[in-house]
């Protein structure tokens, strides 16, 4: 096992889907870390994106550019938070996590594609974590306020 350096990572920057959508329109890159079967059922649409499943993330993270804003997303925002911290560990400083993930994105009526469009989004893949406790209809009402203006 190669030696690793312990780093004290700062709290990750998080944005709600509404803010994420605006940032993507302004040039941020979306990185979907869900597994292929999940993406096949339902996926983000109408935005530039990279798909790197968390199960491949250690091998493929270097595909993600360092010179632009990057928004990590998954089903509910837990796996993508891990991916966000991983990129921060690797020295990325323009990364942020999409709170509540595709579930909230779809609930807000933002573009999606796939055979499951219109069906509820569930956290899938390995190590899926608890879904958010907040109502899908209320944006940015989580415990952590996003670092940027929400719903702007």
């Amino acid at each position: 096992m190669s030696a690793t350096t312990k780093k004290d990572l700062a709290e990750a920057r998080e944005v709600c889907p509404t803010t994420a959508r605006r940032l993507i329109a302004e040039g941020a890159l979306l990185v979907d870390v869900r597994e292929p079967a999940e993406v096949e059922r339902l996926a983000f649409a109408d935005c530039e994106q990279l798909r790197i499943p968390l199960s491949e993330f250690e091998r493929r993270w270097a595909e993600i550019p360092r010179d632009r804003d990057v928004i990590l997303a998954c089903a509910v925002g837990q796996r993508s938070l891990k991916a966000t911290y991983w990129l921060m560990y690797q020295g990325y400083d323009r990364v942020m996590n999409m709170q509540y993930g595709l579930q909230r994105w779809a609930a807000r009526g933002f573009p999606v594609t796939g055979s499951g469009a219109g069906a509820p989004v569930t956290a899938g893949g390995c190590c899926a974590e608890a879904e958010p406790t907040t109502e899908p209809s209320s944006c940015c009402d989580g415990a952590k306020a996003p670092a940027t203006g929400c719903c702007g």
């Binding site: 096992m1 990572l9 560990y89």
Partner: protein, 77 residues
């Protein structure tokens, strides 16, 4: 004394890893402290994305699965 940390979100495999290390240490009479790191930010701060992982005296020695008894014995030797 060896300082051992098990990194993981508190899943069954993480518990199995900690229990195995404790059992092997007890059988070997090894002087160890075993801690758990369950907070995601701190886990990834070790450069770990796959859990459970094991850190011995500050060095990550294993990631992504429950280690074997032989591996644990090697860490405690």
């Amino acid at each position: 004394m060896k300082d051992i940390k098990v990194l993981g979100p508190g899943c069954a495999k993480c518990k199995a890893t900690a229990d195995l290390i404790a059992a092997v240490a007890r059988d070997a009479g090894a002087d160890v402290t075993i801690g758990k790191v369950e907070e995601m930010r701190e886990i990834v701060g070790y450069g770990v994305i796959s859990t459970p992982a094991v850190v011995v005296d500050g060095k990550v020695v294993h990631v992504g699965s429950v280690p074997t008894r032989e591996m644990v014995e090697g860490w405690l030797a």
